[in-house]
Symmetry: none
Subunit: 243 residues, 2 copies
DNA sequence: CAGTGGTCTAGACCACATC
DNA sequence: ATGTGGTCTAGACCACTGA
């Protein structure tokens, strides 16, 4: 491959990106194996080493698993998909996972304010969908969640969320839009409950609440979802294990 | 290198292990740069690619940092084992690391209450040391920290902390007591500031504060330190990156 | 300019899986 | 026996850095 490279990105990155999209498109189902390095090298007309580097990055991110002598297998995402991975809010009653019920309050079209535009790296005023959701922990309505998705990334997600019973958000993002959420960044603050929170969470005015601002990133490093979660910590807390 | 390989491990792993030990022995001080790949390849009598793979693993583990055109540099390490690893509180002024000044308000002998005894798995009433510390972020006194160490684990730590200028806590635990802190567990809540916080942090009564309860575990899984950190999130926040 | 790390190639041999 | 990924070599060109 002696041709001058018009694209800025390294070849192995391009290959990786393309392979990731093929995996997300279910060209190979979870558990199935990809073509061998040799085959892919022929297919993309590159050397084996370049293909190897692309696949190794995918393996380090957990998208595929490699086994010497057998092949490269797509990690099962989907069935056993763990939405718990990013869950940090827990009820105070230690042991039981008494379930996390969710109820959508509304889903509507809005435009991105300056905070959202900065977080998702989209122009201010960009159109998108806002969803407001009430989460119950240990049967008590405890947490309010406000989410935003840009129309650019997730067109029609408002319709999806208006269905009577919806799967977890990150499952929808993967199945319907090809975004595999692998990383989230959260900022936590303590503040006084807003009127909206007082009403929806049945709090007394002046109650302190924990606020979590989250940005969710897909495999390709792009910010896909912006979310504000809030609630009183009288019966729940945010737990973080580091190390 | 055609000789049969007597050792089971891949060469690059052996090289990596050797280089790591040399870094830990301070053959190159933090901030200094290692010999170039070419030089190391000559030194070890291996090809550049093998050296590269060894160094790349070290870089992915954060032991060294690589910069194209310059070299491979030792990350701050060794005695000053990164206390940043568990640091989640950041000032809102994004970029600058204007320093985190610390001032000890008192260090005294106390006995463990029920909360501490449960956290550290020691009998209630066990004797220990309590330290109260004020941390400034961006020059503003922002965070109050109350720590507890049992006499059983850390005898005489009260004396150490009463010295005029003290190293970071986890450095003391490692150097003086042999506890390498590798994991912490944190519980976060939002609540109203106590009178003590109002006074020491110059808050107005009724201000909401973020409270972080931390248990620090040593390599051997034993709970060594219990800590409560609290402060208003007007000018700082707790940041968490997951994934 | 020379030196660095970053990318890419085209071979080679190995240990392991499967048939 | 064949094919897989894992390791290793010996070249090449690139972009970037610093003198």
């Amino acid at each position: 491959m002696k041709e001058p490279r018009p694209s800025a990105k390294p070849l192995y990155q391009q290959v990786k990106q393309h392979l990731v999209s093929r995996v997300l498109k279910k060209e190979w189902r979870p558990g199935e194996c990809l073509p061998s390095e040799m085959r892919l090298a022929e297919e993309y007309n590159l050397s084996q080493g370049t293909i190897r580097k692309a696949i190794e990055e995918m393996a380090s991110e957990g998208l595929v698993t490699r086994q010497a002598g057998k092949g490269t297998f797509v990690t099962s995402h989907g069935g056993d998909y763990q939405p718990f991975r990013f869950r940090r809010l827990h009820g105070d009653s230690e042991e039981k996972l008494t379930g996390y019920e969710e109820k959508y309050i509304h889903t509507k079209k809005v435009t991105a304010d300056s905070r959202i535009s900065r977080a998702l790296q989209i122009p201010e005023g960009a159109r998108g969908t806002e969803a407001l959701r009430l989460r119950s922990i240990d049967t008590l309505p405890t947490v309010l969640e406000r989410m935003f998705f840009s129309d650019e990334s997730c067109p029609g997600i408002d319709k999806v969320l208006q269905q009577p019973s919806t799967p977890p958000i990150y499952f929808i993002l993967e199945q319907d839009y090809g975004f595999l959420i692998t990383r989230v960044s959260e900022k936590l603050r303590a503040r006084i409950a807003t009127d909206e929170e007082v009403e929806l969470l049945h709090l007394t005015p002046g109650t302190p609440v924990l606020e979590i601002e989250r940005i969710a990133y897909s495999l390709g490093r792009e910010a896909v979802e912006w979310r504000i979660t809030s609630g009183s910590t009288d019966h729940m807390h945010y737990r973080n294990e580091i190390g």
